[in-house]
């Protein structure tokens, strides 16, 4: 359940008059590997890769590579142009690298339409790409994937191998985000991908290994208008368990009852966690000098049913994706670490934290 605001924003921009899009409703019959790829009947879809990596010397990095697809329905009076350039689908992608030990964060984005192969999702090739940022499924059975991205500052190449099968979040095949039917998404994750590969950057060449996480989500209009933003946590614990937790915030800054999460045990079995089972408390704030938004970069999380208490920290506070010419609203998405206990045992972990909707909140002076 990522960067929903980005997609919602684009959808708002692009869909002038909506045709009847398919909604994420309970009882969906998934079919894999087909459902790892595009669902053009849904307005918005994304494939989200994040991960914590380090080189043999212990130099820590975080990375994010995201492919968004937003469907556009153009009004009928438009003269039909050559189909390949018709902006029926818009493809947005974000790429970010956190050089944690050097304290550097770099991010960039691109926007394309299909054009003559500029961007797209091709299930027959097992591939989604936006220019030379791409993920290719090496094996549809094992879920092995190959990630490649090149930008002005760096080039990254990772082999991703699932250590657990993917999970489908929520209940009955939908991750519900609001009371109305369809305020929901279909949400699939690979919560533990063994990552190894190569990073070429201006700072040098690094052989990297670590843990990655992949989310795939598709929906039409999943958020209600009362939602202001959310805080999303991907947690990969060193006891071989994972959690995905999100906290939806309404416009008064309160947690929405449709906040929820998923717990994945060491064998890969998953369990839904509803909002009553999770508590989130923001700690230290960091204010972005670029956007002015103030983000809670330290959190305390508790899931009493798991006997879980975790403190979230980040060694790199500036992991905000925002620039003046950005297509998307400002959001914070960064590599973080966790420490605390689960099942009464001390535990550490890595993961990613995403926080959206803080720029507006900041403007109103809520903090």
């Amino acid at each position: 359940m990522k960067s929903r605001a980005i997609a919602a924003f684009l959808a708002m921009l692009l869909s002038a008059s909506a045709r009847q899009w398919q909604l994420a409703l309970p009882g969906c019959h998934y079919q894999f590997p087909r459902d790892h790829f595009s669902h053009p009947d849904y307005e918005t879809e994304w494939w989200y890769y994040t991960g914590n990596l380090r080189d043999p010397g212990g130099h820590r990095f975080g990375f994010e590579l995201t492919f968004f697809r937003v469907a556009v329905n153009l009004p009928q009076q438009t003269v039909p142009s050559d189909a390949s350039w018709r902006p029926d689908q818009i493809y947005l992608a974000h790429l970010a690298l956190s050089d944690i030990d050097r304290g550097e964060f770099y991010h960039t984005e691109r926007l394309n339409r299909a054009g003559p192969g500029l961007a797209g999702i091709d299930s027959s090739e097992g591939r989604y790409w936006n220019g030379n940022w791409q993920v290719r499924w090496v094996s549809l059975e094992t879920g092995e994937q190959e990630l490649r991205a090149v930008c002005e500052r760096f080039a990254i190449h990772l082999d991703l191998t699932p250590e657990k099968p993917f999970v489908i979040h929520g209940r009955n095949g939908v991750s519900q985000k609001g009371a109305e039917p369809g305020r929901a998404s279909h949400y699939i994750s690979f919560t533990r991908l063994r990552a190894s590969g190569q990073l070429e950057s201006n700072g040098g060449s690094f052989s990297l290994t670590g843990l990655a996480w992949m989310d795939h989500e598709f929906f039409t209009g999943q958020l209600g208008s009362s939602v202001a933003g959310w805080d999303w946590f991907a947690i990969q614990l060193d006891n071989n368990e994972e959690l995905m937790l999100y906290r939806l915030r309404n416009k008064s800054g309160q947690a929405d009852p449709y906040s929820s999460g998923t717990y994945v045990d060491a064998r890969g079995e998953s369990r839904f966690l509803d909002s009553s089972q999770i508590s989130f408390s923001p700690g230290e704030f960091w204010q972005s000098p670029v956007s002015g938004a103030a983000y809670p970069v330290a959190w305390k999380i508790a899931v009493p049913s798991l006997d879980l208490e975790l403190s979230e920290r980040t060694s790199l506070k500036d992991q905000e994706l925002f620039s003046r010419n950005s297509y998307s609203p400002a959001y914070w998405e960064g590599a973080v670490t966790y420490s605390g206990r689960i099942h009464s045992q001390p535990v550490n972990g890595v993961g990613y934290l995403e926080m959206t909707g803080y720029k507006e909140t900041q403007k109103v002076g809520a903090h």
Binding site: L13, V79, W85, P116
Partner: protein, 845 residues
């Protein structure tokens, strides 16, 4: 008198102050001369120098650009963007559009407004709103100069059809980026559709990663694109256009120096008059201790003042004239070379310095001889009386020898080849011809007096005889004046003859060439770099009309050859049934060449192309086309005056083989003998069915062609007019000086019973005789110069064969204008002379 200060005041400043009108005339003449130089410099820079090839506008910060004649298959873009390098590839469609099919051709660009909105500064605050803005009825973004507002509907003619668009926004103009002001931008998909180039891109702008050299990345690109694609530096088209315009601009610049050259004669004459007039004063100051050097310096100072004030004035005048010149030059550049909009005129410090510097230099050089002459006046002359009667001693015999030597050298120089594509030696030869003629003028005037004496006294009576004698008596001055006027006449008539010959050549060529009955091409103003196309169906439908014998198709592309723009053309020139009248260079067999043209990779090339690139029969031309570089063997060189860019002409089917796009740029229709042209014309109109396609008969086409030609050469006429004006101003000033110097003579004539009207007649006779003399000499010199222009300078600069031809009407007009103007120039001095009170004048003495 040991210091220069008082000397300057007495010898220079006071006399100049006393003769305000004459001083003002000279100043104005210099100002005009400098003004023209500056105007042409500024206008040339604006029209050609700082222009961006309009299609290269909005190229962002990209470094390289991929091109392919006939367009790039867009699937290449899909492959390129996935290469594992941090390139940025921005596709473009490049075409032209005109609003409602009228007026100038505006650059019409298709850009990827979703993938690269940030590269182009649209007025929209957020680049992503471009994506939203793609919704709606054919949205376009337009340059500021088009004066359209968001929401306006606009109809654009693109190729052979009109499309309606909605203005969605105004293009922001970056500093110095001129072409954007009149550009029209659409999203690439829409642009492909309306330009009929689905699946194709005209170019791909490439921004390279900063961590390696351009050459490094060029090599990587080269490995990843097909062989037919060229990888150019961004801006290379602009550079090529600029190079192409070099000859045009330098010739224009040379023409602009004519007025200044005429001005130089006038400065010479002014200083010379001052020296003669102040001979006694010079003697006195020399007697009072002034050195020779001081005297020379004083007169050079006079020239300096005239040069400086005149030049400063000239800068102002030049800035004003540039405005008019830029319109004239701009239309020439548009119709002959490249579709571009003139930049704003930029009066830079450099331009001002060059203008003033040139003015000063010319003034000082012109004043050198009289100043030296002044320094040689002996102190004893202070005592000598009769200064009015002083006559410059002219060694006309020696000067004639000089003249002969200069003419001989000119002939030799005219045989030399160009230097770096510039006819430098020919220009030198022209200068020598002018100087030689000037040297020969005293002898000519004497000769003229001898010959004309009887005729003049018969025709003009005693006043005429007096005038003729006076001319002879003041030979030193007269000859300089005659030189100035004759130079102006010569320059004007030589340019007139050249242009007239060219015009006649083009006309004859068109008559010869345009033998078909109808010519079809998409509507809109023609341009050398624009080749709009028509629906291929039109040609075949016309072929089926009753009465039509054949339809020849032709298609043109703008290409780049050896760093210069050129036109690649495919034509059904050798088709049976058609009878195009291509004329080849002497010794080339037309029928054999045309018979062979379609049988393989052969080409024929136009004369300017051959001359520009040093090619001839048997040469090989390598062009990057589909499937890689293709070699064509040149079978012949043909006469063509349609474009200075030069043409490589292939057979229609040869071109189609490499560029498979059957949409023609033009159609030529031949009728069966006995067919009714009216009926066929109606049939053609039916086929066109309201599409904006022009159907011209050959006579109409010829008229259109000659109209373009005339528009092109308007600037040269304007330059000639200024040169003549400068000369006439000079004549007025000089006659005034003559009148003042001879007031004693006129007073005597009055005392002896001469009427005022007779005095006036004497002066007017002098003016008229001077005009006549200058016309005669000018015409002779002009003819010589025109030979240089037609056969050497034009050939070396532009590569055209021009048949010599006397444009009689034009020449008569020039000569009459000059003669009348000279007479008019005599009116004011004549008035001054008649208003003199003879008693006062005699008392003065």
């Amino acid at each position: 008198m040991k210091t220069l200060g008082p000397l300057l005041v007495n010898l220079i400043v006071r006399p100049m102050g006393r003769e305000r009108v004459r001083t003002a005339l000279t100043l104005f003449a210099v100002a005009l001369g400098v003004g023209v130089v500056i105007a042409i410099d500024l206008a040339g820079a604006a029209a050609a120098g700082s222009f961006h090839s309009s299609l290269e506008s909005l190229a962002g910060k990209s470094t390289l650009v991929l091109h392919q004649t006939g367009g790039i298959d867009q699937s290449l873009l899909g492959r390129l963007v996935q290469l594992p390098y941090a390139f940025d590839f921005a596709p473009r469609i490049e075409d032209f559009a005109s609003i409602n099919g009228k007026g100038e051709a505006l650059p019409f660009l298709g850009l990827d407004l979703i993938g690269h909105p940030g590269q182009h500064e649209f007025q929209n605050d957020r680049p992503d709103s471009a994506a939203r803005d793609l919704a709606g009825a054919n949205p376009v973004w337009v340059g500021q100069r088009l004066k359209l507002r968001p929401g306006d509907q606009v109809s654009l003619l693109i190729n052979d059809s009109i499309h309606r668009f909605t203005v969605r926004g105004i293009l922001k103009t970056r500093r110095g980026e001129i072409a954007e002001k009149n550009a029209i931008v659409a999203d690439i998909g829409l642009a492909q559709q309306v330009t009929g180039s689905a699946g194709k891109l005209d170019s791909i702008d490439v921004t390279i990663p900063p961590d390696h050299s351009v050459d490094y990345w060029r090599e990587i690109l080269a490995k990843n694109v097909p062989a037919g694609i060229t990888i150019d530096d961004q801006g290379s088209r602009t550079e090529e256009n600029r190079k192409m315009l070099t000859a045009f601009r330098s010739n224009l610049r040379v023409l602009s120096y004519i007025a200044l050259l005429v001005g130089a004669f006038l400065i010479y004459s002014t200083i010379e008059v001052s020296v003669v007039r102040r001979r006694a004063d010079i003697g006195i100051v020399r007697a009072l201790g002034a050195t020779r050097k001081m005297v020379a310096t004083a007169f050079l100072a006079e020239a300096l003042v005239i040069g400086l004030v005149g030049s400063v004035l000239g800068v102002v005048i030049g800035r004003v004239m540039a405005q008019g010149a830029v319109a004239l030059i701009g239309s020439t550049v548009q119709s002959l070379y490249v579709s571009s909009e003139p930049a704003p005129i930029a009066l830079t410090g450099g331009a001002i310095l060059i203008g003033i510097g040139t003015g000063l230099l010319v003034s000082m050089l012109a004043a050198l001889a009289p100043a030296i002459e002044a320094s040689q006046v002996a102190p004893v002359e202070a005592m000598a009386r009769g200064r009015q009667e002083y006559i410059t001693i002219t060694r006309s015999g020696k000067k004639v020898v000089w003249a002969a030597a200069m003419f001989a050298t000119a002939v030799v120089l005219s045989k030399l080849p160009p230097l770096e594509r510039q006819p430098i030696f020919a220009y030198a030869a022209a200068l020598l011809l002018v100087a030689g003629t000037a040297s020969a003028i005293p002898a000519t005037v004497s000769f003229f007096e001898g010959v004309a004496k009887r005729a003049v006294s018969l025709l003009l009576g005693v006043e005429g005889s007096l005038a003729l004698h006076a001319l002879r008596a003041s030979l030193g001055r007269t000859s300089v004046l005659t030189s100035a006027l004759a130079t102006a006449v010569a320059m004007s008539s030589s340019v007139g003859i050249m242009v007239g010959s060219f015009r006649e050549t083009v006309w004859v060529w068109m008559e010869d060439q345009l033998k078909a009955d109808f010519y079809l091409s998409p509507a809109g103003r023609p341009g050398a770099d624009r080749h709009p196309t028509m629906d291929p169906g039109i040609g075949s439908a016309i072929e089926r009309l009753p009465g039509v014998a054949a339809v020849d198709r032709a298609r043109s592309y703008t290409i780049s050859y050896a760093g210069l723009p050129a036109t690649l053309m495919g034509a059904e020139i050798s088709k049976a049934g058609s009878s195009r009248n291509t004329r080849f260079m002497p010794g080339q067999d037309r029928n054999r060449i045309l018979g062979q043209l379609g049988r393989g990779d052969y080409a024929i090339i136009s004369e300017p192309f051959a001359n520009k690139h040093g090619l001839g029969v048997g040469s090989e031309i390598v062009l990057p086309l589909r499937g890689g570089k293709q070699t064509f063997k040149v079978l012949g060189v043909y006469y063509d005056y349609s474009t200075e860019r030069g043409i490589v002409l292939l057979d229609w089917h040869t071109l189609l083989k490499y560029l498979p796009d059957a949409a023609p740029s033009s159609l030529v229709v031949f009728l069966k003998s006995g067919a009714d042209p009216e009926a066929v014309h109606r049939g053609i109109d039916g086929v066109i069915a309201g599409r904006p396609v022009m159907v011209l008969t050959s006579s109409k086409l010829r008229r259109e062609g000659i109209a373009v030609f005339d528009r092109t050469f308007r600037i040269t006429y304007a330059l000639e007019a200024v040169a003549v004006t400068v000369a006439v101003l000079g004549i007025a000033g000089a006659l005034l000086a003559l009148v003042i110097d001879r007031r004693r003579e006129f007073a005597l004539v009055r005392f002896l019973g001469g009427a005022q009207v007779q005095i006036r007649r004497i002066i007017l006779c002098e003016a008229g005789l001077l005009g006549l003399l200058a016309n005669g000499i000018g015409l002779g010199l002009g003819t010589l110069l025109s030979l240089l222009l037609v056969f050497v300078i034009n050939k070396q600069s532009f590569g055209w064969t021009i048949q010599f031809h006397w444009p009689v009407a034009l020449l008569l007009a020039v000569l009459t204008t000059v003669f009348v103007a000279t007479l008019l120039a005599g009116i004011y001095p004549a008035g001054v002379a008649t208003r003199m009170n003879p008693i006062e004048v005699i008392h003065e003495e």
